[in-house]
Symmetry: C2
Subunit: 437 residues, 2 copies
């Protein structure tokens, strides 16, 4: 008799083992306690957290759960044959990966918020779930409390989604919002974000775009039925964005956002994370602070947008509990939720083959002929210019450009050539331009 | 042996009977044809439309379906024992109600986009589905292609949603957008909407808010686990909104939108549809044309927003096919999706007991003492004023007010008293103010 049959026999309680009890884990415990009756009504069964693996079981947590349910032995939780669902909220690749593979292999279902793990070892986990006939749910791994994975996997099952574009990292959006509204430098804005708890002591994962790249990989995998890992995602963080960029952008009618973009075109997938100028009338332009917002596009559905809290204990816990209810319902009925399904062998388009618009600002010699010399380089590389303007004089002379859509490889080649020109003193700024098509 | 077991035995095809083949029905047939392989991959089974009930089976439709699948006998489709799912896209209460009750009673599952039917006879249908152990899915009934019902029923299963506020009627939003941007009258904008196919020849259901009220009732029922019908919804259409209102609103920093609002407070549900002034920086203010957008709020999740195409054949068909895939997966596994569940006995709060802010513009005598006389009436009824301003002179003299939040009953009583004052010539405008808390 499998663990599942043994425990579900009475149909009254689904037993949950929690791995990790940080902000989100504590919020899940509280939510299941406060909304327990509603949750039971919707799941058709009572959900109970029977064990919680934490680093320090003795620490006072003020949670509505008996002390003896806390343990420092995560392996024992995973191996406990009376547990039906493992809910992993510890984060990081190891030991989470090993524990979840073990849980799935023993027939347990898994709910996880672990974007880093899914974006690096998703295939291993999905294969393990498939083999065991277990559920693997992960709504909370992307965009916190915003329902996104379920709409993509279920509501849009009839659509061929071909583009996802969004703000999926709250920390950098908070930082960029502060830079935009107060004229602060990135360092000043990061310090403020740290002070307010929106950024970690080491902000690298957010600021350099690693967090957004992991989410981008997960969204592309789900939306396009493919296996995309974080390393496939072209990634640029926000550390090169300056207060001057915001001023220049504002004057042109743009704002600057860190975007995650996944595109399916001609059976190849382009995935990238980078700061971009978007028109200030674009709906994403008004997404302020730590909020997230994601556009989903397809030929039939047109444009959908999902907006909400991209992080935080309570919103993320809501997503986790939504998954727990679905998995509990499935267990109760001996059914499975939508798995990864068979995946298409789609290739990842090399970044050089993608097409985009670019904004470029150069410090240049203040003399006749320089524009012609630079424009010639663009022309030879097949890049046409939408706008060119000159500002400043003498040492302050700059030339700025917005290109038409051009091939990334051709643009980078042009950039290399421009850097070698005597007339070009420095590249003051390069930003992609999105949201205008 | 039930119909379900008989047909699902081979696990290769789920057979669908379609009732109605208008814009949405035709789009569903095309979508299943074009994306058939993707759909089968996600459902785990092939979905086939085996019969379509239409008024005139002989008419040339140019659809990728053999002519002999069309019939004018809807009853025969519903009674066909080889059919697993009835997909109802005919609209209206009868004969749809009778047909779906019959379908559910015979063990078939139902996917419907029929908001009018659900908002008037939802309880009968949910009970029939519950009794038969069948699925009843209806994502397409509210906000077209925007995933909303599934997030509410499943993703937010752990949350106590307490407020829904949105633009759920594309026709009136198109009309209001035209009025706002071109200074048109309502009649001019409705004529343009009819010319472009955004409004029906008889626009009453949209313009007077009946369509939005039906959707409001469905959203409240799903979000609050209650049984709310369209008749419970307080309803005001947009026909009293004038070009002058848009000018006045713009000067104050507001736009005018037709909102559907459902609130759960102290175990009582308030449901209402009416035009309202909202701040021009509110995210709903930028929802233009025929788009829909819905805010969902709760204590844990904060604010979520869902935005997209609220109507149209292809977006709505996407929602229908998403439901068909879920129902097919359920059939395949002998499982059921989340039903209506047990519902709470929550009362509908009488409109007089709701609280709101109000904008009021009066034509008045141009003489000292009038403001004091009017302000006195507000004060006696316990309504405090946030802003008061006077404009024009002589015959053109007006007094305008924005109240603090006040009880609807007290405001209506004040209005009756003001209309009887000699100093008050006419009520030029009354609008609720939303989105400021």
């Amino acid at each position: 008799m499998s663990a599942r049959e043994a425990n579900m026999g009475d149909g009254r309680t689904v037993r949950i083992g929690l791995l990790g009890s940080g902000t989100v884990g504590a919020a899940v415990i509280r939510l299941l306690h406060e909304h327990g009756d509603d949750v039971a009504r919707r799941a058709g069964v009572h959900l109970e957290v029977v064990r919680v693996a934490v680093r320090d079981p003795g620490r006072e947590r003020g949670l509505p759960l008996p002390e003896d349910r806390f343990t420092d032995d995560a392996g024992a939780v995973v191996d406990d044959p009376t547990i039906d669902i493992i809910c992993e909220l510890m984060g990081g690749v190891e030991p989470a990966r090993g524990l979840l593979v073990r849980a799935l292999a023993s027939g347990k279902s898994v709910v996880t918020a672990n974007k880093e793990l899914l974006a690096s070892h998703g295939e291993e986990l999905f294969t393990a779930a498939e083999r065991a006939g277990s559920d693997l749910y992960f709504e909370a791994a992307v965009a916190g409390g915003i329902p996104l994975i379920r709409p993509l996997r279920e509501s849009l099952a009839g659509e061929r989604v071909d583009r996802i574009l969004g703000i999926v990292n709250g920390t950098t959006n908070f930082v960029l919002t502060q830079m935009s509204e107060h004229g602060w430098t990135g360092d000043e804005a990061v310090a403020e974000a740290q002070r307010l708890g929106f950024a970690e002591a080491d902000p690298t994962a957010d600021v350099e775009g690693y967090d957004a790249a992991a989410k981008c990989a997960i969204l592309a995998s789900v939306a396009f039925g493919a296996r995309i890992v974080a390393d496939d995602v072209y990634r640029e963080g926000i550390s090169a964005v300056t207060p001057q960029d915001f001023q220049d952008a504002a004057r042109l009618g743009y704002v600057i956002k860190l975007l995650a973009i996944a595109e399916l075109d001609d059976e190849a997938i382009a995935v990238r994370v980078h700061p971009a100028m978007i028109p200030d009338v674009h709906p994403l332009a008004s997404v302020r602070g730590a909020s997230n917002a994601v556009f989903v596009e397809g030929p039939k559905i047109g444009q959908l947008m999902f907006y909400g809290a991209g992080a935080g204990g309570d919103p993320t816990a809501t997503a986790v509990v939504g998954d727990l209810v679905s998995v509990a319902r499935n267990l109760l009925q001996g059914a499975r939720g939508p798995g990864a399904g068979s995946t298409n062998a789609r290739r990842v388009r090399p970044m050089d083959d993608t097409r985009d618009q670019y904004y470029l600002k150069l410090r240049v010699d203040d003399r006749p002929g320089v524009l012609a010399e630079i424009a010639d380089r663009f022309g030879r590389n097949g890049i046409s210019l939408e706008r060119v303007w000159q500002e400043g004089t003498g040492e302050e002379a700059t030339l700025s450009f917005i290109t038409h859509r051009a091939q990334e490889g051709a643009f980078q080649k042009t950039m290399r050539e421009l850097r070698e020109l005597d007339a070009v003193h420095a590249v003051a700024s390069v930003l992609r331009v999105e949201g205008e098509e």
